[in-house]
Symmetry: C2
Subunit: 222 residues, 2 copies
């Protein structure tokens, strides 16, 4: 009873999953996968990794049970193994931000000076239903297709400058992207404000929206 070697084996097994969360690049991959499934080389490009390096990290995630794969012809699609994985990832970020000194600094250095606070999820829902705001998804189109806030328009942030005319001129815009630490919505709001539009961000993004079990629509833009 209570064999120390077996205890160590059990905790090492937990640690094996923890180890998957111990590399920044692997967390970037999880972040992308939280938006929807992707092929290896799409992930490698999006995360700025060499293909073989990305593959190795994905193997690590897979052995830890955090991701699963699906083969479709010659490509392999990776996806999160479950909602609980997204929840674990989100909680890790929250705990890090709450208790670890460097995170807040790194966050503002990356996202830029927040300017105004974002609006909350419930507030967004209420104001969107009342027709007071337009909801704008600024992620890449594949991520929009994989799941977005119902009724949101899709304009990826790189195209926003050119397509700004598609937004109603006199309605406030609420932009959102992947999650609390995603730059895209920050950039979009800065751009829109610079062009004289009223725009704010959702305070987090699709990751947190899904975890809150709010409605999600799928499919390409109309």
């Amino acid at each position: 009873m209570g064999d120390p070697a077996r205890k160590t084996a059990l905790y090492d097994a937990f640690a094996h999953t923890g180890k998957a969360l111990s590399s920044g690049k692997r967390l970037e991959l999880l972040d992308l996968l939280a938006q929807g499934e992707r092929t290896v080389d799409a992930l490698a490009k999006a995360a700025g990794l060499n293909l073989t390096t990305a593959s190795a990290h994905l193997q690590t995630l897979k052995q830890a049970g955090l991701v699963a794969t699906r083969r479709e012809g010659v490509r392999i699609h990776y996806r999160l193994a479950g909602d609980d994985v997204a929840a674990l990832y989100a909680l890790l970020r929250r705990v890090a931000q709450t208790h670890q000194a460097g995170v807040e600094a790194a966050r503002t250095a990356y996202l830029g000076d927040d300017g105004p606070e974002g609006v909350g999820r419930e507030e967004l829902l209420a104001r969107a239903q009342a027709g007071e705001v337009v909801v704008l998804d600024v992620r890449p189109t594949e991520e929009y297709a994989a799941g977005h806030i119902p009724g949101a328009l899709s304009i990826p942030v790189e195209e926003l400058a050119d397509r700004i005319a598609e937004l109603p001129a006199d309605t406030e815009v609420v932009a959102y992207c992947r999650g609390e630490y995603c730059v895209l919505a920050h950039d979009a709001v800065r751009l829109l404000n610079a062009r004289g539009r009223r725009a704010v961000r959702l305070s987090d993004g699709m990751l947190e929206w899904r975890l809150a079990d709010l409605p999600v629509a799928t499919g390409d833009a109309a």
Copy 2:
């Protein structure tokens, strides 16, 4: 906007907290700390670690923001930095168990063949209030003192064989310990059953009890 170096810095900061979860020994330390604060050398002994090794792991946990310290004279007491840390630890274990093949095997190898399922928290509360069962805490006394289920008796598992007479002979016993993966209650139930007592375990333990915001009593046994 969206400097890749800054993005890497932010994700590396998250990974720094993840890295703290990547060693089985550190998870054992977190497991102990989830029961209440402890000094360095108490932790080292309880986890079966060399003092300097334990100290090094605790520094890692501290830099990751998962634990905090309090000095009392010549000793330093470590504790979890917050409830969210306990939640993160619990979620890591759950995700590992759900998605990683080896965990279930390691679990049963360590805990022994479960025998009957444990009772749930709500069921325990109801049956204890109805006086149908006696609740028995089999953790070390310091952990009992740091927080236990209200009304529970405290008999550490090593003393249980000698003190079995303190338990009412004709009432069913529900034993609990640290959490879902703690051996103590398993051992206690096996011992009690071998002595002809009706005994079952709580299906998890104090860690999950606290996270469920159920009532907790503190202080030594009367």
